[in-house]
């Protein structure tokens, strides 16, 4: 039965909902599991393709949501990535997402309801050096979910992405490891308008929003949970030391 526009019970927003949690079992997955359980969801973990069998899915009469978490970065230059490593990134990323979506869609279509959430780094939509294949994989996941959204929306199925910032979870840890604590924290403050490191709970809250009926009329959307880093343009990188460099009044400019 289609379930839209019912008043939302904030006491247990995911009550009696069955959620498939898949992809990378890291700290973000941990936060999502905790938050969704707190809101009454039943969680099924599928962190390995071997876990994923049609039998297992058939035993579950319903699957309300699929939340897929992308693997952390592999930071290396383009020349150093061999095709084997590239293939492995796609296998555990977009292709794994596709293999799960393919199996849950018939169940969701039968229910005439369901939603799919993919958690990927925000370099899916903006360039970052050193993550070329990971970025291609993340961008592929976002585009793939848009196609799912268009193809399945008339069955009451929604698909959205959550774009995570570079300071969050394992990717943020990698920054600290690579740059050192002080330099990494300086980067977190300088390049993110909110000026702090993001947390896994921030991502979990966005996933809860996407997976629940709070986002009833949203599909194919990408929600950036990154402290505003994507809107930082040239201004944050280039700041004039002497602010009086721009001193012409409006009247003077119009002369």
């Amino acid at each position: 039965m289609i379930q839209c526009y019912n008043p939302i019970d904030h006491i247990a927003i995911m009550k009696d909902r069955v959620v498939l949690l898949a992809g990378y079992d890291g700290t973000i997955a941990g936060s999502i599991r905790t938050l969704f359980k707190r809101h009454g969801a039943t969680i099924i973990d599928v962190f390995n393709e071997k876990n994923l069998s049609l039998e297992m899915l058939k035993n579950n009469e319903k699957i309300d949501s699929l939340v897929f978490i992308s693997h952390p970065n592999v930071i290396t230059s383009i020349e150093k990535i061999d095709s084997l490593a590239a293939n492995s990134i796609f296998q555990s990323g977009c292709l794994f997402l596709h293999s799960i979506v393919k199996q849950v869609l018939p169940i969701m279509k039968r229910q005439r309801e369901g939603n799919i959430v993919s958690i990927v780094p925000d370099y899916a939509v903006a360039a970052v050096p050193g993550v070329s294949i990971c970025a291609a994989n993340a961008a592929a996941s976002v585009s793939y979910l848009r196609a799912v959204a268009i193809e399945c929306c008339k069955f009451g199925i929604r698909a959205n992405s959550v774009l995570t910032g570079f300071s969050i979870a394992e990717n943020g840890d990698a920054q600290i490891h690579q740059l050192g604590k002080e330099a990494a924290e300086d980067a977190f403050v300088r390049y993110q308008p909110l000026g702090r490191r993001g947390s896994c709970e921030d991502v979990a809250n966005a996933a809860l929003f996407c997976a629940s009926s709070m986002s009833n009329s949203i599909t194919g959307e990408s929600i950036p949970v990154n402290g505003g880093v994507l809107i930082v343009g040239h201004s944050q990188v280039w700041q004039p030391k002497d602010k009086s460099v721009f001193s012409l009044t409006l009247k003077e400019q119009r002369k």
Partner: protein, 291 residues
């Protein structure tokens, strides 16, 4: 975080919150524990405020023409007098005049910019300095439109004002992020708003006519039915509350997938799409906001 009461004891201002979408947002915010201030020209403003006070006793309405800068200024002062500070500002007002760009009446253009854009900037200028002074980690939610991203013909003045609102929102995010203040834009697609409610209300005794009216919009978005005011309100609640504490400068669409279509593509519908659509239409028509 208390998910039962996401805006407990927060002071929220919603422009044009007396009816339609603004009222749906004001009501949901009140249900989540907020003190709500609404403004607008609507005669129903005091009645809406009475309904809000039944949920959140300190809520109030201020009659204000948002096209008049001095009235917006007065409204801002009144809010600060009654509430001390503002935690959440929702710029929800939107007026539209359908004119081809070559025939735009500049008076209409100025009025649209005043209401849709200037009033928002003026209220931001009123409330944000107080947020900074009092160390309030506030949130500003600008209700924009699909026309700011994917416009249609004869909506030039409106699209310009909403596009401006998107840009202002991003610049503000850069300017005040360091103080923990967030600002985001919510772009609505075709939604059941006050104008549509009035049309539906005029034919309220004829459900078939109402269906026919709604069917006209079928195909404007991939989803089966337009969003309801309540759906947009839920999205605004997410952006206003700590659920989105690491989201700023974002321009988020709430359009049933309308802007993700590369081009028109008639994908097969399920067999029971007609029934599903009717279920959704009934839910929309039975909404208290239509009556």
């Amino acid at each position: 975080m208390n998910y039962y009461r996401l805006l407990e004891n927060k002071n929220c201002v919603i422009t044009s919150g007396a009816h339609g979408l603004g009222y749906a947002i004001a009501r949901l915010f009140a249900e989540h524990g907020a003190r709500v201030a609404i403004c607008g020209l609507a005669f129903s403003g005091r009645e809406s405020a009475n309904l809000l006070r039944a949920i959140s006793p300190e809520s109030f309405f201020f009659k204000c023409d948002l096209s008049e800068l001095n009235q917006v200024d007065e409204f801002g002062d009144e809010v600060l007098k009654c509430m001390d500070h503002v935690d959440v500002l929702v710029n929800c007002v939107g007026i539209n005049m359908r004119e081809p760009i070559t025939e735009i009446n500049m008076e209409h253009f100025d009025t649209i910019q005043s209401v849709n854009l200037k009033a928002a900037i003026q209220l931001i200028g009123k409330f944000v300095p107080v947020m900074i002074e009092k160390n309030i980690h506030g949130s500003i939610v600008n209700i924009s439109s699909i026309h700011s991203i994917a416009p249609s013909a004869v909506t030039g003045s409106y699209a310009a004002s909403k596009g401006g609102l998107n840009a202002i929102s991003r610049v503000l995010a850069l300017e005040v992020g360091q103080y923990g203040i967030r600002t985001n834009t919510l772009c609505c697609g075709w939604i059941a708003t006050t104008h549509i409610f009035k049309e539906l209300n005029a034919i309220k005794n004829d459900r078939k006519k109402q269906y026919a009216f709604l069917e006209q919009f079928n195909g404007t978005a991939p989803c089966l039915s337009p969003a309801r005011a309540e759906d947009i309100a839920q999205h605004a609640l997410f952006l206003a509350s700590d659920m989105s504490s690491y989201i700023t400068g974002a321009t988020l669409m709430n359009d049933g997938g309308a802007t993700i279509q590369a081009h028109y593509c008639d994908f097969p519908e399920p067999d029971d799409a007609f029934d599903m659509r009717r279920t959704l239409y009934n839910a929309l028509l039975d909404s208290e906001y239509v009556r």
